[in-house]
Subunit: 122 residues, 2 copies
Amino acid sequence: MPLLDPVELTLKAPVTKANIEAHVFVCTGASCSGKGSDDILSAFYSILAEKGLLYGKRGSIDGTILVTTCGSVGLCKIGPAVLIYPDGVWYYGVTPQDVPEIIEQHLIKGQPVERLQAFQVG
Amino acid sequence: MPLLDPVELTLKAPVTKANIEAHVFVCTGASCSGKGSDDILSAFYSILAEKGLLYGKRGSIDGTILVTTCGSVGLCKIGPAVLIYPDGVWYYGVTPQDVPEIIEQHLIKGQPVERLQAFQVG
């Protein structure tokens, strides 16, 4: 049996009732942070929030995109790294200037930005 | 055009030539860490390495499973949280004792552990 009933689960973790279509991970490991991943994180937060797409405290409960930090994934020499799941697309060498393109082309139109793609999981 | 040619990409980030089938994220946000997420991370590393499934420095280049930390995803009150992509399955209240079951049942047999499942993305 589950650890919590559905009502308790919803009350304690409202995200479990969200309609999350994409989960963006911005690497904040040492190398990526040294190359400005905080600015990339800020760009995702602000642009997605402005478009009403960001889920959570910085966005809204109707948002469909979640943005989270992650530890090193092995792109340390070619970072900053940005991962988009469940698509499994890994981007490298991302700059804050690339973020609008990733949002428009990948997250909204569903077409990964080939130029920045390092890897595909799954 | 891409930022790097395929040879440079492989040399600088060998993970981009790995055959990664699943990416496990263990939340190491403040709440999850306070509830022992480091022990969960260690359990994933050691059991997956023992089975030859772990990719990376702690495992091997033939491993098919990558394990990474992540920041808070909103399961703070019901953590520790473990996310498995590209499946999009989020687990909650995970203990080190649950890790062998998640590995055997979900990562090897492809059947999520329903009892611990909080959410499904995508």
